[in-house]
């Protein structure tokens, strides 16, 4: 049995919407297969400035032996941030002691966290009611990868900000196990 949900954005802005389908809701993790999708990007300046600050952190920046944030993680984080669609608040951006960067969103619908590393990301979405959704994937540079990470953001938006704005469907995205 599959479960589907739709991604929506404010109709007054006139942007594209997507459908995200969970191939098997019982899976502890699900994976994204990139398909073309249009995402309207925004560039919250404060968040970009935060990322620039993080890139300057030296070893032991937290006083407890934290590792510096890698340039790759910063670059991936900037791409992910640029993919944040309209109708979604900018994430809270924080470095971790292992040299990764976390993006966190909180809304009345729940919260989500994505941790961005040098080569991969990992995260979860915890709706106020219902199961936890786990997310993970690679962070190679390329158009397919860009689409995949945009879709992750779209899933978060759907689950945390679905109550904002009305819905309309123009595009669909399948989520399925990766083919290696």
């Amino acid at each position: 049995m599959s479960r589907s949900t739709n991604i929506t954005q404010f109709p007054q802005i006139g942007v594209t919407t997507s459908i995200v389908e969970f191939a098997n809701p019982s899976l502890s993790c699900f994976y994204l297969r990139p398909l073309p999708a249009l995402i309207v990007t925004s560039e919250p300046l404060a968040a970009q400035a935060t990322l620039q600050e993080l890139s300057k952190l030296k070893k032991d920046w937290d006083g407890y032996g934290a590792l510096p944030i890698t340039p790759d993680s910063c670059a991936h984080a900037q791409r992910l941030l640029a993919a944040t669609p309209q109708g979604m608040t900018a994430p809270e951006i924080t470095p971790t002691s292992n040299g990764t960067i976390t993006f966190e969103w909180t809304s009345s619908e729940g919260d989500a966290l994505i941790e961005i590393g040098r080569t991969r990301y990992s995260g979860h979405i915890q709706p106020k009611h219902g199961q936890t959704f786990y997310l993970q994937g690679g962070l190679a540079v390329g158009p397919d990868q860009q689409v995949a990470t945009e879709q992750v953001i779209a899933v978060i938006k759907e689950l945390l900000y679905a109550s904002l704005g009305s819905r309309s469907l123009t595009h669909s995205v399948q989520i399925s196990k990766p083919v290696f």
Binding site: C29, W61, G63, N98, T100, H124, Y134, Q136
Partner: protein
């Protein structure tokens, strides 16, 4: 009588530690009623005077979070240690998170003395092997990451953040360093 002896012993160990850096009277075992304090630095540990879960990020390559044994160090020595790790440019000492050992045990974590760093140092252990083998610069697998987040949230719930009104001074002039009731 037993409580009185323990109280006297803790007072004596605190003074030996503060003035002579002697660990003679500090027991290896961390008692359930001991207060543990974690030095808090801005900007990444607090937001709007509230603790963030990043305040309990483990040390890289370990599943441990450093804390100080308040009963055997006292506020002045805890503050001295906290400020010694400060970096005015990037990490500014702001105060302490205080929690009790039994609250850590209640969330299925361990507390162990680690005086090899300094007398009064202890570690809260998440007991997650994944953290010890985690590659630098990479995230945990999602279920482990969620589990770590839940454990850090449990520590936050068990903690009381007491900000230091005079961070520049050597002595502690803030509120009572007590865990939440």
């Amino acid at each position: 009588m037993r409580a009185l002896v323990r109280g006297l012993s803790r007072t004596a160990s605190k003074f030996l530690n503060l003035f002579f850096e002697l660990c003679w009277l500090v027991p290896i075992h961390v008692a359930d009623d001991e207060r543990l304090v974690r030095a808090i630095y801005s900007p990444y540990h607090v937001k709007n005077n509230r603790l963030k879960h990043q305040a309990y990020d483990p040390t890289p390559k370990t599943d441990e979070v450093s804390v100080m044994r308040f009963e055997h160090m006292g506020a002045r020595l805890c503050k001295r240690k906290a400020k010694s790790f400060e970096n005015p440019a990037k990490k500014v000492y702001r105060g302490f998170a205080v929690l009790r050992t039994d609250a850590v045990h209640a969330s299925h974590m361990e507390v162990a003395d680690s005086r090899k760093y300094y007398c009064g140092h202890a570690d809260i252990r998440f007991q997650m092997e994944e953290l010890k083998t985690l590659e630098p610069g990479e995230p945990l697998e999602p279920p482990a990451q969620k589990r770590l987040r839940d454990l850090k949230d449990a520590l936050l719930l068990a903690s009381n953040y007491v900000s230091d009104p005079n961070p520049q001074k050597a002595s502690w002039h803030g509120g009572n360093l007590e865990p939440p009731v």
